[in-house]
């Protein structure tokens, strides 16, 4: 039995709860199995005697009973009138009527076992379950007899500070395990109860006070860790295998090979250390006999030898030296036709008719390219030496020649006796008949181009171009007509270091002989 005085002040927040959810008047609720409290609120502050509260159970044939009213002022202007029934009967309809000054103002038919408003669940405790992301919530069911199996509960939980709470319903059990919580988070939890509606029914209780508990921190599951390690090992092995099998391909892609000209230049880098000039001096020059390929610093100066000797028969040019030099026979013939005007003579003489010696001479000139077979046309700026030979039927006296120094006479031509047809074994052998010969050098500037003074068919003209061409006469030797000594005397180093602007194509040596 509850203390009547105490119940008057008991949980009037419960009354405010009811006001929110119960539309009918008077609002009645049962807090236990043996009571019923009904109330209504009115404006003003009238005495409870003005009202009459009567009730009657349906099954009794008795007259309706009256309930003693008490008044309570609420919120300033309102008054709450309260009736507490002394005894109640459940499972039977109750008919309630409220009269104000004899006039019925409220009437309601209700079942008392349907208007339970109990206390909130007590002793709410929250504990960790030992599992991740879980919490267990326990509470005491209402102490009312026969109510334990007829209750349903609602649990609200939210992380501290969050406003989004989740709710879980529980039936007939007074504990619940919350799942899928955030690890290492503080949660606030509260519980409320309500009869389940089958046997007993009622209103939601007030919420129990908040209870807090922190979820256990996240742990790395050992199994997951082991799986991750194994999978990563497998991936590493796979990638290593791939890398090793495609090693070369990948290296080529990532670190492309820098092309090296090593394979084309045999021995250039290994033997000569990259010194191109030295490498050129030995060996593989056969590849580079292209005259247009490389610039030649030194090339033989073309000489046109004009001979005034009475050569009747043009000296046939032996085709071999031309071939040796790569000259075409056609060009030689052409040169013959032009009469030696544009003939170019290499500043070399040879006594022997040896193609290989020719090559040696050419190489010794330290030229990258062999004098080619083109006809060289004299530039106006070219200097030439024209040798005038006064024909002297000399039997080969070489005395005039002996006076000639190396440097004073760049070239001396000995002319062969006209009557002797000379067979030239090579291009460079120019046999001259003995005889004094004057060498007069004339600059080509004196003559316009093309107006070459044709001194006669007997002239063998040699043109020395002063165009910065160095000519190595070191290996010159005279022809077989006994000029070997003279050849030695005429080692003439004619080196002109200043390159001319219009360097003639090098190595052009055309010999034309009259």
């Amino acid at each position: 039995m509850m203390n009547v005085a105490a119940t008057e002040m008991l949980c009037w927040n419960a009354a405010s709860l009811l006001v929110a959810v119960e539309p009918e008047d008077p609002k009645c609720f049962a807090e236990g199995m043996r009571d019923l409290t009904c109330f209504w609120e009115e404006e003003g502050s009238r005495s409870p005697d003005d009202y009459a509260f009567t009730y009657m159970y349906q099954e009794t044939n008795e007259e309706s009973s009256k309930c003693a009213l008490t008044a309570q002022s609420v919120g300033g202007s309102k008054t709450r009138y309260i009736c507490r029934l002394p005894s109640v009967q459940h499972f039977v309809p109750l008919d309630v009527s409220v009269f104000q000054d004899g006039r019925l103002i409220y009437n309601r038919n209700l079942l008392i076992d349907h208007v339970f408003l109990l206390d909130p669940p007590a002793n709410v405790t929250v504990t960790q379950t030992g599992e991740q992301e879980q919490l267990r919530v326990c509470w005491l069911p209402p102490a009312l007899m026969d109510m334990e199996n007829s209750m349903m509960y609602e649990v609200e939980y939210a992380p501290t500070g969050s406003h989004m709470g989740k709710r879980e319903s529980v039936r007939a059990r007074s504990e619940i395990i919350l799942h899928s919580l955030q690890p290492d988070t503080r949660y606030n939890i509260r519980v409320r109860a309500k009869p389940d509606g089958l046997s007993y029914s009622g209103y939601w209780t007030a919420w129990a006070p908040w209870v807090s508990m922190t979820t256990p921190p996240a742990e790395m599951d050992l199994l997951i860790l082991a799986l991750c390690v194994v999978i990563s090992l497998i991936l590493i092995l796979l990638s290593l295998t791939l890398l090793l099998s495609y090693r070369r391909f990948l290296l080529k892609k990532v670190w492309p090979v820098i092309p090296s000209p090593e394979n084309k230049f045999d021995g250039l880098f290994s033997v000569y250390g990259g010194n191109f000039h030295e490498w050129l001096g030995v060996g593989n020059r056969g590849f580079w006999w292209s005259p247009t390929f490389l610039l030649v610093e030194e090339s033989p100066s073309p000489l046109e030898v004009l001979s005034e000797a009475g050569f009747t028969a043009p000296v046939p040019v032996h085709p071999m030296p031309f071939k040796a030099l790569g000259l075409s026979k056609k060009e030689v013939e052409e040169d013959e036709r032009t009469g030696g005007q544009d003939s170019v003579l290499m500043g070399r003489r040879k006594g022997k008719a040896h193609p290989h010696w020719v090559l040696e001479q050419l190489q010794s000139l330290d030229q990258p390219s062999v004098p080619c077979c083109e006809l060289h046309t004299l530039e106006p700026s070219d200097t030439y030496v024209s040798l005038n030979y006064r024909s002297q039927q000399d039997s080969g006296a070489m005395s005039p020649l002996a006076d000639i120094s190396e440097e004073s006479l760049p070239l001396q031509v000995l002319f062969e006796s006209p009557g002797t047809p000379t067979s030239f074994s090579d291009l460079e052998s120019v046999t001259y008949s003995s005889g004094s010969g004057e060498i007069s050098s004339q600059s080509s500037l004196e003559y316009p181009y093309g107006a070459w003074p044709l001194k006669g068919p007997s002239y063998i003209s040699m043109t020395v171009t002063d165009s910065g061409i160095s000519t190595d006469y070191s290996h010159m030797s005279w022809g077989t007509t006994g000029l070997g000594d003279l050849a030695m005397a005429y080692t003439n180093e004619y080196k002109n270091k200043v390159p001319a602007p219009r360097l003639p194509p090098h190595g052009h040596t055309v010999y034309s002989y009259y």
Binding site: Y57, T60, S87, Q89, H90, V92, D113, L198, S199
Partner: protein, 186 residues
């Protein structure tokens, strides 16, 4: 064919286990489960609601039915012993059964008939449940039946309302506090 044999064997095994278990007081009987009665109560509530819908126009009966009182005053109820409570429950169930039977005979509506049949079988089952709880079956004698606390109803919805309240109240209280169910926990 073989699956049927297996199912039959399993059923026999379960039945045997149930028989052996029934003699053991330590194990809670299945009838003690409140869900057993809750099912009946739920069915009675559904019937009551359906009856109200069906009988909007008129389900007035020509004759009046005798139904038990459903009200429970816990103060008084707790003072009664189990026997008295059982007697009260069983007499009420008997009365209800009789009333349903009377209504069933006089109603021609097929839907109503099915509902009445269902209710009658439920009453019968509840009496069976009480019997399994070692509560002696009781039927009032004609002299006792006159002194029973009864009241009269004259409509079918009212009858089913009484039935629902009776089941929810007295019957449930009796079963939930039956000694047979509490012997293990005492």
């Amino acid at each position: 064919m073989q699956t049927y044999v297996v199912i039959g064997l399993v059923a026999v095994l379960l039945i045997v286990l149930e028989w052996t278990r029934s003699g053991m007081p330590s194990v809670l009987k299945p009838v003690c489960d409140p869900r057993v009665l809750d099912r009946f109560i739920r069915e009675a509530q559904d019937t009551e609601v359906a009856m109200v819908r069906l009988c909007l126009s008129s389900c007035a009966l020509s004759l009046s039915l005798t139904v038990p009182l459903t009200s429970v005053d816990f103060v008084a109820w707790d003072k009664k012993n189990v026997q008295e409570q059982a007697q009260e429950v069983q007499s009420g169930l008997w009365l209800l059964g009789k009333a349903i039977d009377v209504v069933r005979a006089s109603v021609s509506n097929t839907a109503l008939q099915s509902m009445l049949d269902n209710s009658y079988s439920n009453i019968h089952s509840i009496r069976q449940v009480i019997r399994t709880l070692n509560i002696q079956d009781w039927s009032p004698s004609p002299t006792e039946s006159a002194s029973l606390d009864t009241r009269q109803v004259s409509s079918t919805p009212e009858l089913f309302r009484v039935q629902t309240n009776f089941l929810r109240g007295k019957v449930r209280l009796l079963l939930s506090h039956a000694p047979a169910c509490h012997r293990s926990s005492s």
